[in-house]
């Protein structure tokens, strides 16, 4: 592994191509530590009118050059010159990508609840949309299955099934259906097949499908019934994903060449960061990462280094907003809006946004609708992810999220809210964390860059995550459990050996205890009722080394799930009270 800190120059350029915006980010070494220095941003140009990813990349790079006063692009166009003494170029380049349409995948497994479930998890971990699934439980006639596969014209087929000492004939039977379907698809359009099933069948599958299309093989994702091994297949899938997108989107190959292979789907980069952070926090709590994009939302959760992540191509704040609308009753969005808006106004706004995903809300009313939608998109994505979280996740109550130590949120709708309390409230309302969790905001959209740079130099990830490039919004304490109203908790902060005044926390609202960013204190938390903050029901104790953030210490005593009054006046009062508690008006 190359360590850029050992070299002269010590600089890294990272390019992130999202579905709406393309960003160029520059990191350099300052006093021996990596720092994020500047960013350039331009509209993404995968589609009309430019139809070339690199038009947007160049524009973002030019803007970055202007900010830095440093030449990055060489005269040959999209080529980054090596960092040199004249202060030009960069030592290394990475790229992350989430900008194209989701890859259409047909998934095939033996049993719905075993291999098909695993292969679904695999493809859901990146920007794929399952257009057809097939298993032995399928009651359709085989010819109908073959016709369905052909009609969908998938970009990729992923075939799983059989443990390494298990089923073989049934897997071959399913593979034969695929062979028949592939025969019907013209050669130039045949999707590649990724085989992630019984490893003893490689030769047979090769004989059956290898002559028909490009066949990729990865280790069995279910080597035995009790074990799931998605990692190696995920690597293969990322590579195939890139090749499929590169065929469709002009400029992607050049971008990968520019990044010298350090090119990752943005979701994979987020997953790396979340997995890494889960190894440095207190077990058994986990680490949650959310990237709320315009076309996708990614939820990554890791517990002790075991990562589970899922991309939702139907849930996003731009072109994919329709997916949220389809799954949501309007009242679930209206409940977060503190303005007296008609349902038609809200519906019009939500349906027009996918037509023009790049647009920004200019009035307080439009902003309120967007932020309500952001809450609902994240809430849906988290709700759908809960069943997939690793078995080591511990849930205080049915229906809540597990105990998380840190929650990292990225995505413009949240990270670029005009006021920080809006960002924090969106996260609290959407995630509804439990126990004690630190909320971190990726206000500069760096998480992809940090994840992608990990292979070049893990130090960059560590340094940047520890820097203020990521904003620590504060530590949230959320008691959960049955209560009878009144005072829930008694908290005493001990700072530099000095006991601070005792604070009583009443049920029903948000409360802030000032604690400057970076300041470390100990807390003694005593539940006064049978509620749980992660120390056991009704049990209190010391919470050591709590680090202050932008909002200090936040106590969320609103209960889980958060209940928003249904009448407009009461709702407005409650929503305003929560904003005011965080210092907003």
């Amino acid at each position: 592994m190359m360590n850029a800190m050992d070299q002269t120059g010590l600089s890294l350029l990272s390019i992130d191509v999202g579905s709406v915006n393309t960003r160029a980010l520059f990191f350099d070494s300052v006093e021996g530590r990596y720092r994020f220095l500047a960013a350039g941003e331009a509209p993404t140009t995968t589609g009309a009118p430019a139809f070339d990813v690199n038009v947007g990349v160049l524009e973002a790079l030019e803007q970055l050059q202007d900010f830095l006063g440093r030449t990055l692009i060489s005269e040959q166009g999209l080529h980054i010159s090596p960092d040199n003494e004249a202060g030009t170029g960069a030592n290394a380049v990475t790229a992350t990508f989430s900008g194209g349409p989701a890859v259409k995948v047909v998934i095939v497994g033996l049993l719905g609840e075993v291999s098909l479930e695993s292969v679904n998890k695999l493809v859901s971990s990146t920007y794929c949309r399952v257009v057809e699934s097939l298993s032995l439980n399928d009651r359709r006639k085989p010819e109908h299955i073959v016709d369905a596969i052909c009609r969908k014209l998938p970009d990729l087929i992923v075939l799983a099934g059989g443990t390494n000492r298990g089923a073989s004939r049934s897997v071959v039977r399913l593979a034969n259906y695929l062979a028949l379907a592939l025969n019907l698809i013209p050669q130039g359009q045949r999707p590649p097949v990724l085989f992630v099933g019984n490893e003893n069948l490689h030769e047979e599958i090769d004989n059956l499908l290898g002559s028909l299309t490009k066949l990729h093989r990865a280790p069995n994702i279910r080597p035995n019934l009790d074990q799931e091994n998605l990692g190696p297949a995920k690597q293969q899938l990322d590579e195939i994903y890139f090749n499929i997108q590169a065929r469709k989107l002009r400029g992607l190959l050049e971008l990968r060449n520019l990044a010298e292979g350090q090119f990752l789907p943005s979701a994979t980069a987020l997953g790396r960061v979340v997995r890494f952070l889960s190894t440095v926090i207190d077990a058994p709590k986990g680490m949650l990462g959310i990237d709320l994009g315009a076309s996708n939302t990614t939820v990554a959760a890791a517990f002790g280094g075991v990562l589970q992540q899922r991309v939702f191509p139907q849930l996003g704040m731009g072109a994919s907003l329709g997916g949220m609308i389809a799954e949501t009753h309007l009242t679930q969005i209206m409940r977060w809006i503190p303005h007296d808006l008609s349902e038609d106004f809200v519906l019009d706004y939500l349906h027009n946004k996918p037509l023009f995903p790049q647009t920004l809300p200019t009035t307080p009313e439009e902003l309120a609708v967007e932020q309500a939608a952001a809450r609902q998109v994240m809430r849906l994505a988290i709700g759908k992810s809960l069943p997939l979280f690793p078995p080591s996740a511990i849930y205080p109550l049915p229906g809540t999220v597990p105990w998380f130590d840190r929650i990292l949120v990225s995505g413009s709708a949240v990270a670029r809210a005009p006021r920080l309390e809006q960002s924090l409230l969106m996260i609290l309302d959407a995630v509804q964390p439990v126990g004690i969790a630190t909320i971190v905001l990726d206000q500069n959209n760096l998480v992809g860059a940090v994840g992608a740079s990990a292979e070049i130099d893990p130090l960059l990830a560590v340094h940047v995550l520890e820097s203020n490039a990521f904003m620590n919004l504060g530590t949230v304490i959320t008691p959960v459990g049955k209560s009878r109203g009144g005072t829930l908790l008694r908290i005493q902060m001990v700072s530099e050996g000095q006991k601070q005044p005792v604070v009583d926390v009443k049920e029903g609202g948000l409360q802030v205890i000032p604690l400057p960013t970076g300041k470390v204190v100990d807390l003694y938390v005593q539940p006064l009722q049978n509620v749980n903050i992660g120390l056991g029901s009704g049990r209190g104790g010391w919470v050591r080394r709590v680090v202050g953030g932008a909002f200090g210490l936040i106590i969320d005593a609103r209960g889980r799930p958060v209940q928003v009054p249904s009448s407009f006046n009461s709702r407005k009062e409650a929503l305003q009270a929560w904003q005011e508690a965080l210092g907003g008006g």
Partner: protein
């Protein structure tokens, strides 16, 4: 900054590539004149098949059954024709359950294509074939007036343009629709009455162009038997002045309403094409432009949504909006002497 473009062109040469999703057969020739509804190519991705298991039918292993298959891929067979087995009295045989074509043979299984419901690719643009892509499709050229929309219900039709009312904000209601509109493409500012859409289907009209559509009518509009194109978006926004003026000039003339769904990656948008004969070879529309002073723009969001103006200044620093958001912005002069500051993200150039 590269700007999104929406085209409202009084006269242009439109070139449109039409390609099959999978290889097939191109049905037209270079130089042919095509109508919007003409099939220009077809593929057989929608055909129906039957799997015939020779192994099971003959009681043999897949390998042995394969050796007894008597047909080749591509061969046409009649109903009852022997597909596999030995000839002779009493020999087990696999016969075709219906007439069809052998589409594939694999592991003792025969895939028989039993009908030929080929997917046709329609021209969607009236014009002349100016380029061919073997087995995939064609490029069609059309000299026309051209207006792009933002939403379409997927349909396609030709008809005569018929304005409803004399204002871009004219609301379409059922009482404006009668049998005299049969066969026309209706144009109106907005519609929020389901009865109007239903009645238009009964007449029937050939198509409908609206400035905006009430969002509650979206499920109805999606199912209407005639194509619908929305120019501005959902709600009650009037049709923009430029599009309205262009339609007024061409009122009563034949047009194609291509209500295809938007696909930003492919650059597809719903559109209204008004062919213009004997207009020479006007230039093709400009493809890529940046925001510049003097260019016409359409406002996509906020209080002036749907209005068209001219950029009078690109603001050097981020402007703060009532929502609190900051954004790179432009000053836009609107008709009537009004000025509006808009985030560049909320603007679309008029091509």
């Amino acid at each position: 900054m590269i700007a999104p473009i929406s085209y409202i062109q009084p006269l242009t040469t439109l070139r449109r590539k039409r390609e099959l999703p999978a290889e097939g057969v191109v049905l037209v020739n270079m130089g042919d004149t095509v109508h919007s509804g003409d099939a220009v190519a077809r593929a057989n991705i929608d055909s129906k098949h039957v799997i015939l298991d020779a192994g099971r039918a003959l009681g043999l292993s897949p390998d042995r059954a394969t050796r007894l298959i008597q047909r080749l891929v591509g061969e046409k067979v009649d109903e009852g024709a022997i597909i596999a087995g030995r000839r002779g009295v009493g020999a087990r045989q696999l016969r075709a359950p219906a007439a069809g074509t052998i589409a594939a043979i694999s592991e003792g299984q025969v895939l028989l294509e039993v009908n030929d419901e080929r997917t046709s690719l329609r021209a969607r643009v009236p014009g002349r074939v100016v380029a061919m892509e073997p087995n995939l499709g064609v490029t069609i050229e059309c000299v026309c007036a051209w207006v792009q929309g933002v939403w379409g219900n997927g349909g396609l039709a030709d008809g005569f343009l018929q304005m409803v009312g004399e204002s871009p904000s004219q609301v379409l209601t059922a009482d404006q629709i009668d049998m005299s509109l049969r066969g026309t493409i209706l144009l109106a500012g907005s519609c929020s009455q389901r009865q109007a859409l239903d009645l238009a289907a009964q007449v029937p009209i050939r198509g409908l162009v609206l400035g905006s559509l009430a969002i509650r009518l979206l499920p109805v509009a999606q199912k209407m038997p005639y194509p619908i194109v929305v120019i501005e978006g959902f709600g009650k926004t009037a049709m923009n002045e430029d599009a309205f003026k262009l339609f007024t000039i061409h009122n009563g003339k034949p047009a194609t309403l291509n209500a295809q769904q938007s696909d930003p990656v492919r650059g597809d948008r719903p559109e209204i094409i008004i062919p213009i004969k004997e207009a020479g070879s006007p230039p093709q529309p400009v493809a890529v432009q940046s925001f510049r002073i003097g260019l016409s723009v359409r406002i996509l969001n906020g209080p002036n949504k749907g209005r068209i103006g001219e950029i009078t200044a690109l603001l050097p620093a981020s402007t703060v909006y009532p929502s609190g958001l900051r954004a790179l912005s432009a000053e836009v002069a609107l008709p009537g002497g009004l000025q509006d500051s808009c985030p560049l993200a909320n603007l679309e150039l008029l091509g």
